[in-house]
Subunit: 114 residues, 3 copies
Amino acid sequence: MKQPEEGQLLRIFIGEEDSYKGKPLYEAIVTKARELNLAGATVLRGIMGFGAHSRLHTTKILRLSEDMPMVIEIVDSVENIEKILPFLDETVDEGLITRENVKVIKYRHSKGGY
Amino acid sequence: MKQPEEGQLLRIFIGEEDSYKGKPLYEAIVTKARELNLAGATVLRGIMGFGAHSRLHTTKILRLSEDMPMVIEIVDSVENIEKILPFLDETVDEGLITRENVKVIKYRHSKGGY
Amino acid sequence: MKQPEEGQLLRIFIGEEDSYKGKPLYEAIVTKARELNLAGATVLRGIMGFGAHSRLHTTKILRLSEDMPMVIEIVDSVENIEKILPFLDETVDEGLITRENVKVIKYRHSKGGY
């Protein structure tokens, strides 16, 4: 059975309408994570929430604006996670980031050879 | 670069149809979190799952009932997280709560002065 | 107030189109988790992401293929979490698994007697 490695889970809580250079911030973060060759990134869209400034978002009330909470999850080694922090520091204006140690098991195609 | 603080991530796994005083329980929990001035709360809606009593929920099979699994994520300091626990103890009838230590970085508008 | 127990959170990052024996892999994993009587499993569907092989998935660009990132979250005791690992080792071809220690509080109906 595959053995786990030490790693970190980085979670970025921002708003759907937060933007960076004209595109959604969550998209910019995922693109940056891929450029940095991080192991993976996943964007989850919340259906309700609040964050900085206590603005409450919900799919029910704010039909028009729909600035839903987004969670971006990035998993990698501590060294790799640290590569994306300066970019987040520059681009996240309002939001919350959590970092925690996790055990990571990576599965990849055995075919094709790395 | 912003330095992280010690904090906790609280995750509440309940059902979409769980209710409290006539409104969805997930909504009641987010409202309570805001009342308590917690740093943020995000509601994620699962597309399949099971929990207490092993009832399996899926968007495919249970079209009519659609009692999907919901995850509510709340991030704050240990002290603040503890403020919402009695409310959860009172309102969550079936469900699962996880608590874990995380490093937290909070970003807020520099404008407006805190 | 209910006291927390030591437990683990297992998170499985795979693709929506990953399959096992003709059905979606995420469905196979949830079914297995229920067979093993694990305390709960929740499937979250991402709206964008990338993983093994750096394929970027997004609801916008890949309308046709829509191989969205999926996160399956399973919470239980260390002993129970370990029961599902051999199945994941066998079925997950490309993906990432994280494991972390969490405090768990389980709520169940007081009626019906356990």
